[in-house]
C-alpha cells in the first residue's frame, strides 16, 4: 500500500495498518452501498469562506525576487552581466515597494470581505427566521379562516 493510499498509521506493535484498513474498507462497503462517500464541495457562504481562506497565503506573497541570467554577448560579456544586476535590483526595489503597499490593501480588502460575509450571513439567518415566523402565522390564520368558514 503506498503512502497516498494509506488512510491512517497505527502505533500498535504487532498490528499492520494495511490489514486494519482492509477490514475497515470491507465493513464500509457492507454498511454503505458504494463504499466511501467523498467529501462534498462546500456551497453557499461556506464556499465563499473557503475561497477567502485560500487567499490567505497568496495575499502576503507578492514580493519579487531578483533573477538575472547570464547572457552570452560577442563583446563586453562580463561587464554587461555585472551591470545588469544593480539595474534589476533597483527595479525589484520599486516593484516590491508597490507590492508591499498592495499587500496592505489586499489584506484590508480581505478583512472587509470577511466582515461582509459575516453580516450577510447574519441578515440571511434573520430573514429565514422571519419567513418561518410568517409561515407559522399564515398557517394559523388559514386554519382560523377554515374554522370560521365551516360554521
Amino acid at each position: 500500500m503506498t503512502t497516498e493510499q494509506r488512510w491512517f498509521s497505527v502505533g500498535a506493535p504487532g498490528y499492520d495498518a494495511a490489514d486494519i484498513q482492509a477490514r475497515v474498507v470491507r465493513r464500509m462497503h457492507e454498511r454503505t452501498p458504494g463504499g466511501l462517500v467523498e467529501r462534498q464541495p462546500a456551497t453557499g457562504f461556506a464556499a465563499v469562506r473557503e475561497a477567502l481562506a485560500a487567499l490567505e497565503d497568496p495575499l502576503e506573497d507578492l514580493a519579487v525576487q531578483v533573477s538575472v541570467r547570464d547572457e552570452r554577448l560577442p563583446i563586453g560579456n562580463s561587464l554587461w552581466n555585472r551591470m545588469k544586476v544593480p539595474f534589476h535590483q533597483l527595479s525589484a526595489l520599486y516593484v516590491n515597494d508597490l507590492a508591499g503597499r498592495q499587500t496592505v490593501i489586499n489584506v484590508g480588502l480581505a478583512d472587509v470581505l470577511d466582515e461582509l460575509i459575516d453580516r450577510l450571513e447574519t441578515t440571511a439567518q434573520e430573514r429565514d427566521r422571519e419567513i418561518e415566523a410568517l409561515k407559522s402565522e399564515i398557517a394559523r390564520l388559514s386554519e382560523l379562516v377554515a374554522q370560521l368558514s365551516a360554521r
Binding site: 498509521s9 464500509m28 459575516d118
Partner: protein, 366 residues
C-alpha cells in the same frame, strides 16, 4: 546572583496550555532564585494575584533583565517586548492562521493575521525558542534561528489527584454510563478544531455502527457563530440526546471524562502542541487524531494518526479501536511508552536548557 527574568504575554488565560506553561516557567525561575514577574495586557481574574499590567513593565526596564515573550496572539505586549531595552527571548507557541476564523469571528481573524504578519518583524531580535518541533520548523521557514525546543510541562498528576474530589464524584455520578460507548473530545469549541467533523463522524458511528453511544464535547464553548453552527448541526442530525456538552466543572475534575472515554477523537487542523493528546495517553484512552501540524510530533508514532477524515473512515476506525481488544491494548501500551517522554522532571530540565541556550545565564538546577 541569578538573573532577573520577566515574562510577558498579550492574554494570560486560566488553565490553557500557554497559561500553564507561563506558570511552570515562573515556578522554575523562582526555584532558581530569579527575580521574576508576569506581565500581561489581559488576564483571567483568577490569576490577578500573579500578574501585573504590561504598562507596569515599562517602568522596570532600567534594570538589566531578560524578557520572555510568549508569542501566541496579537497584542500590545508584543510591541512592548519588541522594543524592550532588556534581553528578549521569544517563546513561540504558534498562532492559529486567520483563515480558520474567516466568516466566524472577523475580529479573531484580523488579530491572528496581524500576529502572524508581525512575527516576521522579530527575526533577528533577541533569541527564539519554540514549544514544539512543528513550531520550530515554522519559525525557521520565516527566517528565525531557533535556539531550542521546550515542550510543555504538563501537570498530569494533578488530573489524577483530582479524581477523588467531591466535584469529581458528582461528575462521575452524572455521566457514568457503562452501556454506552463514549467518544471524548477535549478542547475549545473553535473553528480550527473542526468539531463539526467530529460530530459528523460520530453521527455515522451512532447511526450505522453503534446506537448505544455518545459523544462528550468537553471544553469552553465561547458564544458566537461557530458554537451556534455546532448546535444547529447537532439538532439537524438529531443527536441532541447523544452529543453532550458537560458545561462548567472544576478544572481538577477533567480526568473524569478521560476515565469515561472509550476513545479520544481529535480532527483538528491546527495545533501548536495539543495537550489533550498527552492527557488522554496518561489515562490509557486510545487516540484517533488527524495528521496535521504538531499532532504527529506530539503523538510520536503512538495512537492512530488519520491521514483522511471522511466521517465513515473515522467512524469505522473508531469502531475497530473500541471493539478490537488486542489492538486497543497495543495502542494504549505504545501510548504509555510515548508518555514517558513528557515526564515533568525531564520537561523542566528541557525548559531550563532551552532558556540557557537562549542566552539567559540561569544557575544549574539541583
Amino acid at each position: 546572583m541569578p538573573p532577573v527574568v520577566h515574562q510577558i504575554v498579550p492574554n494570560f488565560a486560566f488553565a490553557d496550555a500557554v497559561g500553564n506553561q507561563i506558570l511552570a516557567t515562573r515556578d522554575l525561575l523562582t526555584r532558581l532564585g530569579c527575580e521574576t514577574q508576569i506581565y500581561a495586557d489581559h488576564w483571567d481574574p483568577r490569576l490577578s494575584s500573579l500578574v501585573r499590567p504590561t504598562a507596569d513593565y515599562l517602568s522596570r526596564q532600567a534594570q538589566e533583565h531578560w524578557l520572555i515573550l510568549h508569542y501566541c496572539i496579537c497584542g500590545h505586549a508584543n510591541h512592548v517586548a519588541r522594543e524592550t531595552s532588556g534581553n528578549l527571548v521569544t517563546y513561540y507557541h504558534n498562532v492559529t492562521p486567520a483563515r480558520f476564523f474567516f466568516g466566524y469571528e472577523p475580529a479573531a481573524a484580523a488579530c491572528c493575521g496581524q500576529a502572524r504578519r508581525q512575527l516576521k518583524g522579530f527575526v533577528g531580535h533577541g533569541a527564539t525558542i519554540a514549544a514544539s518541533d512543528y513550531n520550530r520548523a515554522e519559525l525557521e521557514s520565516f527566517g528565525f534561528s531557533v535556539k531550542a525546543v521546550a515542550p510543555y510541562i504538563l501537570k498530569l498528576e494533578h488530573l489524577h489527584a483530582g479524581l477523588n474530589t467531591p466535584g469529581s464524584e458528582a461528575l462521575r455520578a452524572r455521566f457514568t454510563a457503562p452501556d454506552l460507548k463514549t467518544w471524548v473530545y477535549v478542547g475549545r469549541i473553535a473553528p480550527n478544531k473542526r468539531v463539526e467533523e467530529v460530530v459528523r463522524a460520530f453521527h455515522v458511528y451512532h447511526n450505522q455502527i453503534e446506537p448505544r453511544s455518545r459523544l462528550l464535547l468537553v471544553g469552553s464553548r465561547p458564544a458566537g457563530r461557530y458554537s451556534d453552527e455546532i448546535a444547529a448541526l447537532i439538532a439537524r442530525l438529531d443527536l441532541q440526546d447523544s452529543v453532550i456538552f458537560p458545561g462548567l466543572f472544576p478544572a481538577e475534575s477533567l480526568g473524569v471524562f478521560y476515565e469515561l472515554a472509550d476513545v479520544y477523537v481529535s480532527l483538528s487542523e491546527h495545533e501548536g502542541f495539543c495537550v489533550p493528546l498527552v492527557e488522554a495517553m496518561s489515562f490509557g484512552v486510545p487516540i484517533l487524531a488527524f495528521d496535521s501540524t504538531a499532532v504527529p510530533g506530539t503523538l510520536g508514532g503512538s495512537g492512530v494518526l488519520l491521514h483522511r477524515k471522511e466521517p465513515q473512515v473515522v467512524a469505522e476506525v473508531a469502531h475497530e479501536v473500541i471493539g478490537n481488544h488486542g489492538l486497543r491494548t497495543a495502542i494504549v501500551g505504545r501510548q504509555r511508552e510515548r508518555l514517558t517522554d513528557f515526564e515533568p522532571g525531564a520537561m523542566r530540565a528541557q525548559l531550563h536548557k532551552a532558556l540557557i541556550a537562549a542566552g539567559i545565564p540561569l544557575p544549574p538546577q539541583d
